[in-house]
C-alpha cells in the first residue's frame, strides 16, 4: 500500500514548499505548514483503522521485493508511535504559529520542523536498518538546527554540544549497522532477524547490541548518555522543546531501541536486566536533578529523563503487562510533556522569564495556562483519574508481578519525588503571592490556548485507552514487542503475499 509513503512525502514536500514560498508570502507558508501537519495527523488516525484490520501493512518501494528492495512496514507498534508523533506535532505546529512570531525567518523554522517530522515518520515506518539510519540523521540534524534557532549564546552552545554528542551516537549506530550487514549480508530488519535466528549469534551480536544501546540510548537520553538533553531542551524555543521532549527522544530513542532489540537482535535476560537497570538509574538521576532546578524548562527536561527511565524500565521487565504499561506511558508522556513545554512557552511569552523563584500567583493572570499546567503536572505525577496514573500503576504493578520488588520500590519512591517537584513548579509559579513585576501581564492569545486545552483534554481522558474498545491499539503495539518472532514472521508473510 503506497499510503505509507505519504508520511514521508507530505512533510518533505511541504518543507520544500514552505521554504519556497514562506519567505515572500508568510500566510501561504503558514497555510502549507498547518495543512501538512493536519494531513499527517488525519492519515495517521486513518492508518490506525486499516492496521487494526490487516495487522500489518507493507509497502515495497518500486515494486522490488525485499530484502533486495526497500520496504516500509506499519504494524501495531509503528502505528501507535506514529499517531503519538503526529498528534503532538499538529498541536505544536498550531501553537507555534503565534509563538514563533517573535522570531525572524519563521519559514526556516517551519521548514526544519517539517523535515524533522519527515525524519521521525521515516524512522517509524522504515523496514530496513539503513533507511532507519538515514531518517534518524534527517531528524537529528534538523533538531540540532532547531535547538539553535533562537541564536542566543546558550542555545548555540547547547546545540553544539548536542551536535557533537548526537553525531558520535549516529556513528555508533552506523558502525553497528555495518557490522550487522557484514554478518548477515542484508539490511532488511525482518531478514536480519531470520538470519540471526538460524545462525549462532556469537560475540558480534553482543558488541553490536552495545553500539546500538549507546547510540540510541543517547538519542533517548538514557543516563549516562543524557547529558546533552537538559541544555538542548531548555534553551530551544518552547515549541521545539515540546517536540524534542515530547516525541523526538521517544521516536529516535525508545522506538528504535525497542524495534532493534526486541524484533531484530532478540532479547536475552541479560539485555532485559541491562535495560531495567538503565531505566532505574535514569528515573532516579533525572528526578533528583529535576527537584533542585530553578529554571522551569530545565526542570521539565530532567523530568523527561526520569520519565524515559520509566518507559525503558517497563520495556526491560519484558512481561506483556509491563510492555503494555511502558507503551501507554510513552503515549501519555508525549502528551503531558509537550503540554508542559507549551505551558512553559506561554509563561515565557507572557512574562519573559523562566526562573521559578521570581514568579508566583500567576494563575490569576494566566488562568488557562495555570489550569492546563495543573492538569499536565498532575498527569505526569500520576494522580488519578488522569492518564499518567494508569500507566504508572501498570508499570509498578507489572514490576511487582514479575517479582522485581526492589525496582518497583525505587519506581514508587521516584514518583513521590516527581510529585514533589511538579508541586514545587505549581506553587512557585501559579500560586502564592503575585509578583508586582507581573501585575500587568495578559493571558496568551487564543491560538496558543487552544493547543494547550486540547492536550490537557487528552491528558485527562487518556485513561479511556484502557477500555476494551480502545485497548487493541496498545495491545497490538505491545504484542509486536512481546513475541520476538512475530515481527519477522509477519513481515515475511506480508512480503510473500
Amino acid at each position: 500500500m503506497s499510503g505509507l509513503l505519504n508520511f514521508i512525502l507530505i512533510p518533505l514536500g511541504a518543507a520544500f514548499l514552505v521554504a519556497l514560498t514562506g519567505n515572500r508570502m508568510k500566510k501561504a507558508g503558514n497555510f502549507i505548514f498547518i495543512l501538512a501537519a493536519f494531513l499527517l495527523c488525519a492519515l495517521s488516525l486513518y492508518l490506525v483503522k486499516s492496521v487494526g484490520a490487516q495487522k500489518i501493512i507493507l509497502f515495497k518501494a518500486g515494486g522490488w521485493l525485499p530484502p533486495l528492495g526497500i520496504s516500509m512496514v506499519a504494524d501495531g507498534l509503528a502505528v501507535l508511535v506514529l499517531v503519538t508523533v503526529n498528534i503532538v506535532s499538529l498541536t505544536v505546529a498550531f501553537y507555534s504559529l503565534r509563538y514563533m512570531q517573535r522570531y525572524t525567518d519563521v519559514w526556516k523554522f517551519q521548514s526544519l520542523f517539517l523535515l524533522m517530522l519527515a525524519g521521525m515518520n521515516g524512522v517509524i515506518l522504515s523496514g530496513d536498518l539503513f533507511n532507519m539510519y538515514v531518517f534518524l540523521e534527517v531528524a537529528s540534524i534538523s533538531a540540532y538546527a532547531l535547538v539553535a534557532f533562537g541564536v542566543e549564546p546558550e542555545g548555540l552552545e547547547a546545540s553544539f554540544r548536542y551536535l557533537v554528542m548526537g553525531s558520535l551516537a549516529s556513528i555508533f549506530v552506523l558502525l553497528g549497522i555495518a557490522l550487522l550487514y557484514g554478518y548477515c549480508s542484508t539490511l532488511n530488519m525482518a531478514d536480519i532477524a531470520l538470519v540471526l535466528s538460524s545462525n549462532p549469534k556469537g560475540l558480534l551480536v553482543g558488541f553490536v547490541a552495545v553500539l546500538f544501546l549507546a547510540g540510541l540510548g543517547l538519542k533517548a537520553a538514557i543516563v549516562p548518555f543524557h547529558a546533552w538533553l537538559p541544555d538542548a531542551h531548555s534553551s530551544a524555543p518552547s515549541p521545539v522543546s515540546a517536540m524534542l521532549s515530547g516525541v523526538l527522544i521517544k521516536t529516535l530513542g525508545i522506538y528504535t531501541l525497542a524495534r532493534i532489540f526486541f524484533n531484530v537482535l532478540g532479547v536475552s535476560s541479560k539485555t532485559l536486566l541491562v535495560l531495567m537497570v538503565l531505566g532505574i538509574i535514569s528515573m532516579a538521576v533525572g528526578a533528583i536533578m529535576a527537584i533542585s532546578q530553578s529554571d522551569i524548562k530545565r526542570m521539565f527536561a530532567y523530568s523527561s529523563i526520569s520519565q524515559i527511565g520509566y518507559i525503558v524500565f517497563a520495556l526491560g521487565i519484558g512481561t506483556p503487562l509491563a510492555i503494555f504499561g511502558g507503551l501507554f506511558h510513552l503515549f501519555n508522556h508525549a502528551m503531558f510533556k509537550s503540554l508542559l513545554f507549551l505551558n512553559a512557552g506561554s509563561i515565557e511569552y507572557s512574562t519573559g522569564a523562566r526562573n521559578l523563584n521570581k514568579m508566583g500567583g500567576l494563575s490569576r493572570r494566566l488562568p488557562v495556562t495555570g489550569f492546563t499546567s495543573l492538569v499536565g503536572s498532575m498527569g505526569i505525577s500520576g494522580i488519578p483519574p488522569l492518564g499518567g496514573f494508569w500507566s504508572k500503576l501498570i508499570i509498578i504493578i507489572a514490576a511487582a508481578q514479575a517479582g522485581y520488588i526492589g525496582f518497583a520500590t525505587i519506581a514508587a519512591v521516584v514518583s513521590i519525588i516527581t510529585l514533589a517537584y511538579y508541586l514545587k513548579f505549581q506553587s512557585f509559579v501559579f500560586f502564592g503571592r503575585l509578583n508586582k513585576a507581573w501585575d500587568g501581564i495578559k493571558e496568551v492569545p487564543l491560538s496558543m490556548k487552544l493547543p494547550m486545552l486540547f492536550l490537557a483534554v487528552i491528558c485527562v481522558v487518556s485513561g479511556i485507552l484502557l477500555l476494551p474498545c480502545f485497548r487493541p491499539l496498545l495491545e497490538s503495539a505491545g504484542g509486536v514487542l512481546v513475541s520476538t518472532v512475530q515481527y519477522k514472521d509477519a513481515v515475511i508473510a506480508a512480503i510473500k503475499w
Binding site: F160, R161, V164, M165, L168, L203, G206, F207, A209, V210, L213, A214, G217, L218, P224, F225, A227, W228, P230, D231, K270, T271, V274, I288, M289, I291, S292, G360, G361, M378, S381, G382, I383, P384, P385, F389, K392, L393, I396, I397, A399, A400, Q401, G403, I405, A408, T409, A412, V413, S415, I416, L419, A420, L423, K424, Q426, S427, F431, G432, R433
Partner: protein, 559 residues
C-alpha cells in the same frame, strides 16, 4: 448491567456502610456551614465542586471492593485536598501548605500502590474479599510485612498519625475552616482508619509484633501531638494538633488486636469526626466574628456567642473523655482493649507495652483536657481585649451555628445512649465478639452526674454562697495600670510547660521542623549537589561519561 457492575466492584458490609453514612452526614453539614462562611469567596463554584467530588470519591473508596478502584478514588482525594487548601486566603502560606499536604498524602499513595503491587504478587488478585494472607510465615518472607506497612503508611498519612502528621496543623491554620472540618478532621480520618481497619482485620492476619508496632505508633502520636497542642497560640493550629493526637487513640485501639479494642478504635473514629468537626466549626464561628484565631487576641466571647460556646464546651468535654459524653465511651473501650491485651499477653514484652500504652493514653487524655481548658478560657472566658468592646449577644447566622449544635447534640446522644444507638447500629455489626470487661450504665451514670450537679447548685444557692470578687486599681511604681492592657490570657500559663527542663530543647527542635518528615525529606535532596557537580556543562566530561557507560555495557553484554 449497572447492578452487576455494582456488585462486581463494590461491597457493602457493616464496616463500609457506616463509614459511608458518616461521610454523607459530614459532607451535608459542611455544605450547610459553607453556605454562609464561604460567601463572597472568589471561586465558589470550584469550591462546591471540589467538596462534592471529595464526598463522592470518599464514598466510592469506602465501598470499593477492588484495590485499584480504591487506590484511584483515594488518590483523587489528595488532589481535591490540594485544591481546597489552595483556596485559603493567606496566599503564600496556603500554597506552601497545600504543597506540603499533597506531597505527604500523594507520596504515601505511591507507597500504597507499591503495597498493592506486592499484594498482587503474593495473591494474584485485586479483589479485597479474596485476599487473606498471614503477615509472618507462609513462606513469603518479609513481603507481606512490606505490603502491610506500605498500605499502613498511606492510612497514617491520610489520617495524620505520626510521623506523617505534619501537614495537618499547617492545613488547620491556613485552609478555610469548612475545608479543615471536612477533610483532615472528618473525612480523612474516616477513610484512613477505615482502610487501616480493613487491611488489619480482613486483608492480613495480624501478628503480635505488628500489633505492638501499631500500639507504639498510636501511643507516641497521642502524647507527642497533645504535648505540641499544649503550647500553641493559634486556635486553629491547636485544634490541628488535637486532630493528630486523636488519631493515636484509633490506631492504638486497632493495634490492641482484640474485638473490644478494635470496636473502640472504630467508635473513636466516628466520635472524633463528630466532635472535631464541631470544634473546627466553632473555631470558624469565632474567627468569623473576631476576625482572628490568635488565642492572645481573643477572650470573653461566651457572652456574645452563647450557642457557639455551649457547642464548643460539649465538644471539648467529649474530646477530653469526660463522662457522659461520647469521647469517654470510646476511650474507655480502647482502655478495656488494652487491659484485655495485658491479660491475654503471651510474652512479657506485650504485657509491658500494654500497660505502658494504657498509662500514656490516660495521661494524654488528661493533657487533652488541660489544653482544652486553656482554649475555653482563652477564647470564651477570660477578659475581653480592647478591640472587642461590644459585649452584647452577637451570635453567628443560623447556617453556621446549626451544624455545631447538631454535632454537639450527637456528642451527647452518642455518649448517653452509646449502647442503644451508635454501638448497636454501627459498631457491633462491623466487629464481632465484643466483650466488655466492666459495666458502664451510661444512662444511670448520666442521671447521677446530673443529680450531683443539681445538688451542688442547690447547695450553692441554699447557703447563699456568692463569688466574692473585688476589683481594684493596680499600681506599678506608683502609676495606676490599665488592667485591660495587662490582661491575663489563657496562653501565658502554658508557656511554663515549654520552658520545663528537658522539654525545652524538644519543643525548640519541633518548632524548627526537626520531627517533620517533610522538612527532613527536603534535606535528602542535597544529594542532587553531587549530580549537579557532575553536570558541569563541559563537553569532554559528558563524552567521558558516555565512554564509561559504553565500557560498562561492553563489560556486561559483549563477553
Amino acid at each position: 448491567m449497572f447492578n452487576s457492575l455494582y456488585r462486581h466492584f463494590f461491597k457493602l458490609d457493616a464496616l463500609s456502610s457506616f463509614v459511608a453514612l458518616g461521610i454523607i452526614v459530614f459532607s451535608a453539614l459542611t455544605l450547610v456551614y459553607s453556605l454562609r462562611f464561604m460567601r463572597g469567596h472568589k471561586q465558589l463554584i470550584q469550591y462546591y465542586t471540589y467538596i462534592l467530588f471529595s464526598a463522592l470519591a470518599s464514598i466510592l473508596a469506602v465501598l470499593s471492593n477492588n484495590l485499584i478502584l480504591l487506590l484511584a478514588c483515594w488518590g483523587f482525594l489528595g488532589l481535591t485536598l490540594y485544591l481546597l487548601i489552595l483556596m485559603g486566603e493567606e496566599q503564600p502560606a496556603a500554597a506552601a501548605t497545600a504543597k506540603k499536604a499533597f506531597v505527604i498524602v500523594g507520596g504515601s499513595d505511591s507507597l500504597m500502590l507499591l503495597g498493592i503491587g506486592i499484594l498482587y504478587f503474593l495473591t494474584g488478585t485485586f479483589w479485597m474479599d479474596n485476599i487473606k494472607i498471614p503477615l509472618a510465615g507462609g513462606g513469603a518472607g518479609i513481603l507481606p510485612v512490606a505490603a502491610y506497612l506500605c498500605i499502613a503508611v498511606a492510612c497514617f498519612a491520610k489520617a495524620g498519625a505520626m510521623p506523617f502528621h505534619s501537614w495537618i496543623p499547617d492545613c488547620a491554620e491556613t485552609a478555610p475552616i469548612p475545608v479543615v472540618a471536612f477533610l483532615p478532621a472528618s473525612l480523612d480520618k474516616l477513610l484512613g482508619i477505615y482502610l487501616l481497619a480493613r487491611v488489619s482485620l480482613h486483608l492480613f492476619v495480624m501478628n503480635q509484633a505488628m500489633n505492638t508496632f501499631l500500639m507504639v505508633v498510636g501511643t507516641f502520636t497521642i502524647i507527642a501531638a497533645v504535648a505540641m497542642a499544649m503550647v500553641q497560640h493559634n486556635l486553629k493550629r491547636l485544634l490541628g494538633y488535637h486532630a493528630v493526637s486523636q488519631v493515636g487513640y484509633m490506631v492504638l485501639g486497632i493495634g490492641t488486636g482484640n474485638p473490644i479494642g478494635i470496636a473502640g478504635g472504630l467508635f473513636h473514629m466516628l466520635n472524633n469526626a463528630v466532635y472535631k468537626s464541631c470544634l473546627f466549626f466553632t473555631a470558624g464561628n469565632v474567627e468569623y466574628r473576631a476576625k482572628t484565631a490568635e488565642l492572645d487576641e481573643l477572650g470573653g466571647l461566651a457572652k456574645s456567642l452563647p450557642i457557639t460556646y455551649i457547642s464548643c464546651l460539649v465538644a471539648s468535654l467529649s474530646i477530653s473523655g469526660v463522662p457522659p459524653f461520647n469521647g469517654f465511651v470510646s476511650k474507655w473501650m480502647i482502655y478495656q482493649g488494652l487491659i484485655s491485651s495485658f491479660q491475654s499477653s503471651g510474652s512479657k514484652v506485650q504485657a509491658l507495652v500494654s500497660v505502658f500504652c494504657l498509662v500514656v493514653a490516660l495521661f494524654g487524655s488528661g493533657l487533652t483536657l488541660a489544653s482544652f481548658m486553656k482554649l475555653l478560657h482563652a477564647v470564651f472566658l477570660g477578659q475581653r481585649t480592647n478591640s472587642q468592646t461590644q459585649s452584647s449577644r452577637n451570635e453567628v447566622p443560623l447556617t453556621m451555628w446549626l451544624p455545631c449544635v447538631i454535632l454537639a447534640a450527637l456528642c451527647v446522644v452518642f455518649g448517653i445512649f452509646a449502647y442503644q444507638v451508635p454501638l448497636k447500629l454501627f459498631i457491633f455489626p462491623a466487629v464481632e465478639g465484643v466483650l466488655f470487661l466492666g459495666t458502664w450504665q451510661a444512662v444511670v451514670s448520666t442521671l447521677l452526674v446530673g443529680a450531683g450537679l443539681i445538688l451542688g447548685l442547690w447547695l450553692f444557692n441554699l447557703k447563699g454562697v456568692k463569688p466574692v470578687m473585688r476589683q481594684d486599681t493596680a499600681f506599678i511604681g506608683g502609676e495606676p495600670v490599665d488592667l485591660t492592657e495587662v490582661r491575663v490570657t489563657g496562653t501565658g500559663f502554658y508557656d511554663s510547660v515549654k520552658n520545663f527542663g528537658m522539654l525545652k530543647s524538644i519543643y525548640r527542635k519541633a518548632e524548627t521542623g526537626c520531627f517533620d518528615i517533610y522538612e527532613q525529606g527536603k534535606k535528602l535532596f542535597s544529594l542532587s549537589k553531587v549530580f549537579q557537580y557532575l553536570h558541569n556543562g563541559v563537553l569532554p566530561t559528558y563524552l567521558v561519561w558516555m565512554l564509561l557507560g559504553m565500557l560498562g555495557l561492553f563489560f556486561v553484554l559483549a563477553r
